[in-house]
Symmetry: C2
DNA sequence: TTGAAAGCGGTACCAG
DNA sequence: CTGGTACCGCTTTCAA
């Protein structure tokens, strides 16, 4: 492993100058910088980030702007993943500051972002709501701060983590398509209200179910579903043996149970404690859910990598893992 | 974050002595050691492993004794995971040396192990075949070398990674149990030959299928299955709509296809390129497989943690992740 | 525009 | 049994 002093010795200069070139300082003659960088790439120099980290005494603050959606499990898991990573790298002096804003409040996120940027931060993790505005704010900073976005890609060369809701919907369709009997139909209910995930789940589900040439009814959209659950009954013909809901599966199941309609196979997307309970009791066969804890962990890891430019070639896009959860998967 | 010099200052001694106490040196008066350790725990001192790593100039060799089974995918993935981790921590001077031995050659593993232990190594990852003998060899070294075992726990206080074949079998049963029709039966074929995984897959599958009160035939054990595939036909009664095999699913499917028996739903355990192809073509509905790459990565990470005693309280048992793979999961 | 020197949190060697 | 000191690879401040 080649070091800065070795480079310095070869060129007959001091480590300090070498460091300056490597860190993109302005106070250096272009020609020396040039020759240092040439030699560095030639010899395959890679900065040892242990040394760097130890030398930078400052706490390195990474801000994570997490959106709070109706699904509390989402932000909870995401935060757990971020904390898991923080714990792992606390020897590096990394501090992850988590700030939550409401998913429906686009302006609040921008306001918080602006405020956060007043002080110096090392990294930023964000689920951008208003992509255009946020791009504009972040554009001039993108070389100083290492930025990882969740869900949407902010910059052409930016690192982001894809949540894959659409994909989860497709998998749900494949699973339920295999469970529903050939001569029976799947009822698809659109319980969507969350603008980030539900619609994508549904689209994924429907497109896949069509590809599978599986018979289905729907997607049925019921305004204010939780208040109008009885409208579901209009669609429960005898040839329906299974039901997919992109949202509010627990509430719907509870309702159907209360009127003694219990013989349907349910598959849904997403995860929370209610869904867990219903899988355990057998009332939901399976759910397909993204691993948000892993998403948080990965997000942390990626800013960290950018921070220390630990390796030159990394993918730009990272895909959240998708879990297919049956009852047996829960223990 | 409290450091060794801070402890030293408080006690009015030098860093050197503090380090000695913390590293368990013999050359130190019991009372001073005592007081240092007391203060350290009192103040919650944790060693900064960046500093340690930088100070230890030596290359830190971790040996991984990987078993080579009939399923080439297994060791390939495991190795990939180990390499992924090695890449991640190469700044620490960690070198993972992978040695493969045959899964059926119990003595060869012991021989290689003894040879490896002649030189100084920092860590060991092993899938122990002869647990008793290997324990005996490793017992006197377990405080100097950080050891992580795969599949079996070697010591009461030892860290190990559980491969969860039994669990994978149970999940396969749940998946297929949901796919097979109520009035139909599942044919269970024991194609097992690999003494590590196949039997456990099968046991898990059978126990779960019984719990589910699902009708089934088998498990059918056919000697030298690949040569006697036609014997399967004896069990293919009309009420069978689906088949589980713990091993050789591709070969069986190919055979059944050749005699035009194609209308069965297949679920299996494990993963390789043939299985992948059959899932893509729809001939296998799903497979349940452990994530061996993750297992390798985790194994590396655990020895590393032990190496640097990065944190005091870690679980001893780590579970391999289990993937449920449908066609949609492959892209 | 460059260099010298101190320091980050440890380890290791030598002297006493 | 304890202390002094050099060093790991890098950053940062001060001086030239």
């Amino acid at each position: 492993m080649i070091t800065q002093s070795e480079l310095a010795k070869i060129l007959g200069i001091t480590r300090t100058t070498v460091a300056r070139a490597l860190n993109g300082s302005k106070n250096i003659k272009p020609e020396t910088k040039e020759s240092i960088l040439r030699l560095a790439t030639e010899l395959g120099y890679e900065k040892n980030y242990l040394g760097s980290s130890l030398a930078i005494k400052e706490k390195k603050v990474i801000v994570a702007l997490v959106v709070k959606s109706m699904n509390e499990e989402y932000s909870k898991q995401l935060k757990n993943g971020l904390k898991e990573f923080e714990e792992e790298v606390k020897a590096y002096g990394v501090k992850i500051k988590i700030i939550e804003t409401d998913i429906s409040d686009v302006d609040a996120q921008i306001e918080v972002l602006n405020k956060v940027l007043e002080k110096k931060i090392y990294g930023l993790i964000i689920t951008p709501l208003d992509k255009i505005k946020i791009r504009k704010i972040l554009q001039p900073l993108k070389n100083e701060i290492s930025i990882v976005s969740i869900g949407k890609q902010l910059f052409e060369d930016g690192v982001y983590i894809d949540s894959r809701y659409y994909k989860s919907g497709r998998i749900a369709a494949e699973v339920l398509g295999n469970i529903s009997k050939k001569d029976k139909k799947i009822l698809i209910i659109d319980g969507g209200d969350d603008r980030v995930s539900s619609k994508k789940y549904l689209t994924g589900f429907c497109e896949k179910i069509v590809e599978l040439k599986k018979n289905f009814v729907g997607p049925v959209e019921i305004d204010d579903l939780l208040e109008n659950k009885s409208k579901i009954l209009n669609y429960l013909s005898n040839d329906i043996d299974s039901i997919y809901v992109n949202r509010f599966a627990p509430e719907i199941i509870e309702y159907l149970k209360s009127i003694n309609k219990i013989d349907f196979k349910f598959v849904t997307n997403g995860f929370n404690q209610k869904i867990r309970g219903l899988i355990q009791s057998g009332e939901i066969v399976a759910t397909i859910s993204e691993d948000f804890q892993n998403q948080g962990y990965t997000a942390g890891k990626r800013v960290f990598e950018l921070l220390y430019k630990t390796s030159l070639k990394r993918p730009q896009e990272y895909k959240t893992k998708i879990d297919i959860l049956f009852k047996e998967s829960l223990y």
